[in-house]
Amino acid sequence: MEIRVNVNGVEKRWNVEPSELLVDVLRDNGYKSVKKGCGSADCGTCTVLVDGRAVLSCSVFAASVSGKTIETLEGLGTDQQLHPIQQAFLDAAAFQCGFCAPGLIMATKELLEKEPALTEDQIRHELSGNLCRCSGYENQVKAISGLMDKKREGA
C-alpha cells in the first residue's frame, strides 16, 4: 500500500506492507538516525515525532501514519548551525556512545514544546522511557533543564 508522509518538511510517498513498522520503513528510506535498540517499546532509541508528538516508531505500523508529519533527528540543525537542543547536549558532554541520542533529542524536543517548565525530577520522570546505558543520565538532565530555563527567560 502507498502512504504519504511529510518527513522533515519533505513530502514522501512510500510503498509499505501493512505489517511494516515505522522504524523499519524510516531506516529503509535512509533515516538512519532512528535506532532500534529493542524493537519492543522498551528503550526509546526509536523515538520520532509524529504530528509533533513523541512516538516509539517500533510500536506503530508505517501504514498508520499516512498523511501525517514526521520529524526525525536528520531534520534538526545543520552542519554549520546545530539546533539549540543539539548544542545544549554537546556543551553538557551528554553522551558517550550516543546510541540513545537520536531518541532522546526528539523526546526532548516534544517535552520542551509541551511542558517547558519542569524541575529536574520531573524531567527525569517524563523522559524515563529513553534509556541510556553509558552516561549516568545526569548531564543529559542538566542540559534539558538548562534549555527549559532559557526558554522561560526568552518567553
Binding site: R27, K32, S33, K35, K36, G37, C38, G39, S40, A41, D42, C43, T45, T72, L73, E74, L76, G77, D79, L82, Q86, F89, L90, A93, F95, Q96, C97, G98, F99, C100, A101, P102, I105, D121, R124, H125, L127, S128, G129, N130, L131, C132, R133, C134, S135, G136, Y137, E138, N139, Q140, V141
Partner: protein, 776 residues
C-alpha cells in the same frame, strides 16, 4: 621533556568528543547504518534445549521458501576448535567452541544459519527448518556442575585447554603466599563469609551486528560492532581457513559494549555466510539474542575468610571463588583470576593470602567479559567480609578498610604472582591516592554525620536509612601482554592523521588519544584527524578492554608523537641547514634558533611534499606496559528502605577516583557515573533468570530492566589529584573501576540500615521485606 611537566594545555580539558557532532546530527555512524541495501539477511536458528544433540536436519522445506538462499549447519563446515574470546594470543580461554556444532549447550545455542534475500524469507526459513534433537539432561545449577552425577557438557575429544572436562571444570587456579591456615587459626578475630554475585548482562543499547562483503579483490571485509577488530581478524582467519591478509575488519562507531563485544558472535556467522554465498550479508542480533547469545557477567559464589587482630588489622585473607562460565569457557580463567588479582592487593598488609578458583560449565548462556572483569565479584565478598569484620569489632567500616589498604609506594606480592591467566609482573603503586580518595569522600559525603543519623534505631514508621562504603582498584591494561600502536601522518595544512588500532566503543578514547597527540605536538586538538580501528588502515592494537586504552594506547600515541616531532625537527634542520639542536619545535611551528626564522607545520610539510628534501613525515609508535598502573576509588552510598515494601532507594552515591591525570575530566566522570548505574542496577534487580529447563525468562528490556533516569538518586564522581609517572601525561585508566564498588557498598548500607547482612544480589524488595519480617 614536556611529557612529565604537569601543566598542560589540551590534556586535562573537557574537549568536545571528536565524534559528538556527527552523533548529535543523527548521521549514519553505527554498523547497521551502513548495511548495503542488497545484502542477504542471515538469521541464527537457536537451540530450544539447554543440552541436546542434533540427530537429523531436514533443510528441504526451508529451502523451498522463496527467497531462502542457503542453510548452513555443522555438516557444512569443518570442525575447528577455538574460543570466541577476543584476547591476546595464545588465549588463556579453552578452545571449546566450533563455529557450527551438532551439540547444543544452552537454550539459544546456534543450531543452524538461514541465509535469505529478505527479512521475511529469513524468518520463514528459520520456522520451516526441521531439526530433530536428542535431549540430554542439563546442568543448570553451577554449584552442582562438579558433582560426579552431573552430565558432561564438553565431552568432545577435539577441545583444547579445558581443565577437567569430565567434571565440567573449564579452568582452575590457585596460589598461596604464607601460612594461611596457621595465621587464620592464630588470629583472635576470624570472619568467614560467602557471597553470590548474579548473572547480569552488559546491555549495550546497540545490539551486536556485522555485515560482510567481498571487496573487488575478493577479500573478505567485515564491518562490525566489535571491541576487538585485530583479534577478530586473527580468529576469523583460523576458523575460516583464510589468511589474515585476505580479511579486513572495520569498526565504525559502536553503541557501547562493556565487554560483551570482546567476543565474536555475529562476526563468524556473517563471514561464513558471505564466503559461502559470495554475496554481501548482514546479521543483526535482536535484543533477546544480545541478552542470551553474547556474554553475561560470570555469576559467582565467593567465600572469603579473614583473620585479624583485635585492633582490626588483617593478618590473612583466604578467597575461594566458584565461577559459572555457562556453556563455553570464554574469559573463564581470566575473569575468575581478576576476582582475586584485582581486589586482594588493595589489602596488602596481610602476612598470608590464598586465592583458589574453579570455573565450571553449565547449560546456560555464555559468560564472558563485562566491565570490572571479576573485580566486582571478588570485591562483593572481600569488602563485604571486611564490613562484617568491622561490625564484629564494633568499628566504623571505613576505618577498618582504610587502615588495611594499600598506600603510595607500597606493593603486594599478588602483582607478581597473578597476571592475566598467567604470572603477573612485580609492581609498586607509584601513584596511589587511595588515602586521599577516602578523606575527600568522607568529607564530601559527610560520612560520620550521615552514619550517625542513620541505622535501625533511627528508623521512622515507614523508612530506614543506612550508609555504606567500599574501596576498589583495577588495572590499566595487561602488563607485558597488551600492545597498542599508533601512526601519525603529517599533512600539508599542518594537520595530522592519527591512525589508531584502539577501539573507541563510545568511551571517548578517540578524543583523549587526539588530546594526547595534540598536547605532545603543541597543536590544537582540531588539527588531529583521528581514525580508529580498521585492520587494513590502522596499526595493531589489542582492542578496547582491560582498561587499556588510555594507558597502553595513550602511551603508543605519545610514542608516535615524540617520534614525529623528532622527524619534524630533522626535516627542519635539513631545510635550515643547521644542527638539529638548533631547531625548536613548538606551537605548530619550527624555529631556527640561530636566526629566529620560523616555519609553520603547514609550510614545513608543504616544502617536504613539493620542495627540497621531499618525503612524507609519518611515524608509528608502539607501547606495551611493563606494569599495569592501578586506579583506586572510594565509594560512599546512602540508601533508604521502605519498611512496608522492602524497596531500596539509593539516595546518594559518591565516588572519589584516582585515575592519575584525568585527560578529559568530563569523559572520566562520565565513565564513573555510567558504571555506577550499571552496578546499582545489579545490586537492585539486574539478573538473567531461567526456567527449570534452562529457558531464559526475562531476556527483554521490559522484564530484565536497567536503571532509567528517574530512579537512582544523586550520583557524584570526584577526581582525586594524582599523577602516574609511567602514564601518558600522568594518566591511568578509569573505564571499569566505577562498577566495582556500588554493589557491595549498597549491600553494606542495607546492613547499616537494618542490621541484616544479605549475601546475595540483587536485593529484590520481596527478599528485603521477608528478611525484615523475620526481624520484627
Amino acid at each position: 621533556m614536556p611529557n612529565d611537566s604537569k601543566t598542560f594545555r589540551i590534556v586535562g580539558q573537557n574537549k568536545e568528543k571528536v565524534d559528538a557532532r556527527g552523533i548529535l546530527r543523527g548521521k549514519p555512524v553505527y554498523t547497521e547504518d551502513f548495511y548495503p541495501r542488497d545484502a542477504l539477511i542471515v538469521k541464527v536458528v537457536h537451540s530450544p534445549y539447554a543440552h541436546a544433540l542434533i540427530t537429523r536436519i531436514d533443510k528441504s522445506a526451508a529451502l523451498d521458501i522463496p527467497g531462502v538462499v542457503e542453510i548452513l549447519t555443522y555438516e557444512d563446515v569443518p570442525r575447528i576448535p577455538y574460543t570466541r574470546a577476543g584476547q591476546g594470543y595464545p588465549e588463556p580461554s579453552p578452545y571449546d567452541t566450533v563455529l557450527l556444532d551438532h551439540k547444543m549447550r544452552f537454550v539459544g545455542d546456534t543450531a543452524a544459519l538461514v541465509i535469505a534475500e529478505n527479512e521475511r524469507a529469513a524468518r520463514m526459513g528459520v520456522k520451516a527448518l526441521k531439526i530433530d534433537y536428542e535431549v540430554l539432561e542439563p546442568v543448570l545449577d553451577f554449584e552442582k556442575s562438579m558433582s560426579p552425577s552431573a552430565p558432561i557438557i564438553h565431552d568432545q575429544k577435539d577441545s583444547k585447554g579445558i581443565y577437567e572436562p569430565s567434571r565440567n571444570i573449564a579452568s582452575h587456579y590457585e596460589t598461596t603466599i604464607g601460612d594461611v591456615e596457621g595465621l587464620l587459626a592464630r588470629s583472635p578475630v576470624q570472619i568467614e563469609a560467602t557471597y553470590y554475585y548474579p548473572k547480569s548482562q552488559q546491555v549495550a543499547l546497540e545490539n551486536h551486528c556485522t555485515y560482510a562483503y567481498l571487496d573487488p579483490q575478493e577479500r573478505l571485509t567485515l564491518v562490525s560492532s566489535t571491541q576487538v577488530p585485530f583479534h577478530g581478524r586473527r580468529i576469523l582467519s583460523k576458523i575460516l581457513q583464510t589468511p589474515p591478509g585476505k580479511i579486513r575488519v572495520i569498526k565504525p562507531r559502536i553503541g557501547s559494549g562493556f565487554g560483551s563485544k570482546q567476543g565474536l558472535f555475529t562476526e563468524g556467522y556473517a563471514a561464513l555466510a558471505c564466503l559461502k554465498t559470495g554475496k554481501p550479508v548482514c546479521l543483526s542480533f535482536n535484543r533477546e539474542e544480545t541478552f542470551t547469545c553474547t556474554y553475561t557477567r560470570h555469576d559467582m559464589r565467593v567465600t572469603v575468610r579473614l583473620g585479624a587482630e583485635l585492633d582490626g588489622r588483617l593478618n590473612v585473607i583466604d578467597m575461594y571463588s566458584l565461577s559459572n562460565t555457562g556453556a563455553y569457557g570464554d574469559h573463564a580463567l581470566t575473569v575468575a583470576m581478576g576476582c582475586g588479582s584485582k581486589t586482594l592487593p588493595l589489602y596488602n598488609k596481610v602476612k598470608a593470602v590464598r586465592f583458589v578458583t574453579d570455573i565450571v560449565y553449565t547449560n546456560l548462556p555464555n559468560a564472558g567479559a563485562y566491565r570490572g572483569y571479576g573485580a566486582p565479584q571478588g570485591l562483593l565478598a572481600l569488602d563485604g567480609a571486611l564490613d562484617e569484620l568491622a561490625a564484629r569489632l564494633n568499628r566504623d567500616p571505613l576505618e577498618i578498610k582504610a587502615i588495611n589498604s594499600i598506600r603510595e609506594g607500597e606493593t603486594s606480592p599478588i602483582f607478581q604472582i597473578m597476571g592475566e591467566g598467567r604470572e603477573g609482573v612485580p609492581q609498586i603503586a607509584a601513584s596511589c591516592k587511595l588515602g586521599e580518595c577516602i578523606e575527600i569522600g568522607k568529607v564530601a559525603f559527610d560520612w560520620a554525620k550521615k552514619r550517625k543519623n542513620a541505622g535501625w534505631d533511627r528508623r521512622t514508621v515507614d523508612t530506614v536509612r543506612g550508609v555504606g562504603c567500599a574501596l576498589a582498584m583495577q588495572g590499566s591494561g595487561i602488563a607485558k601482554v597488551d600492545m597498542a600502536s599508533a601512526t601519525l601522518k603529517m599533512n600539508d595544512d599542518g594537520t595530522f592523521n592519527l591512525l589508531v588500532g584502539a577501539t573507541d566503543l563510545g568511551t571517548g578514547s578517540d578524543t583523549i588519544l587526539s588530546q594526547i597527540a595534540a598536547e605532545a605536538l603543541g597543536i590544537p586538538v582540531e588539527n588531529i584527524i583521528v581514525y580508529s580501528s580498521d585492520t587494513d588502515m590502522t596499526p595493531f592494537d589489542v582492542g578496547a578492554y582491560a582498561s587499556s586504552t588510555t594507558y597502553v594506547s595513550g602511551n603508543a600515541v605519545l610514542d608516535a608523537a615524540n617520534k614525529v616531532k623528532a622527524s619534524i625537527r630533522r626535516a627542519a634542520a635539513a631545510l635550515f641547514e643547521i644542527d638539529e639542536e638548533l631547531v625548536e619545535v613548538t606551537d605548530g611551528c619550527v624555529k631556527n634558533l640561530q636566526n629566529g626564522k620560523t616555519l609553520t607545520f603547514a609550510e614545513l610539510c608543504t616544502l617536504c611534499f613539493y620542495g627540497a628534501n621531499q618525503h612524507q613525515i609519518c611515524e608509528t609508535g608502539s607501547y606495551v606496559g611493563d606494569e599495569s598502573p592501578i586506579p583506586f576509588m572510594a565509594t560512599f552510598i546512602e540508601v533508604e528502605i521502605d519498611l512496608k515494601t522492602g524497596k531500596i532507594t539509593p539516595i546518594e552515591t559518591l565516588s572519589v577516583v584516582d585515575c592519575g591525570t584525568a585527560l578529559n575530566p568530563a569523559l572520566a566522570e562520565g565513565q564513573v557515573k555510567g558504571a555506577t548505574l550499571q552496578a546499582l542496577g545489579t545490586a537492585l534487580f539486574e539478573e538473567l533468570k531461567f526456567s527449570e529447563t534452562g529457558k531464559p525468562i526475562n531476556a527483554s528490556l521490559f522484564r530484565y530492566k536497567i536503571l532509567d533516569r528517574s530512579s537512582f538518586g544523586k550520583v557524584t564522581a570526584l577526581l582525586a589529584e594524582s599523577y602516574e609517572p609511567t602514564g601518558p601525561f600522568g594518566a591511568k585508566s578509569v573505564s571499569e573501576i566505577g562498577i566495582n564498588t556500588p554493589t557491595v557498598a549498597l549491600l553494606n548500607a542495607v546492613y547499616h540500615a537494618t542490621g541484616i547482612r544479605f549475601h546475595r544480589l540483587p536485593l529484590a524488595p520481596q527478599t528485603v521485606f521477608n528478611a525484615l519480617k523475620g526481624k520484627a
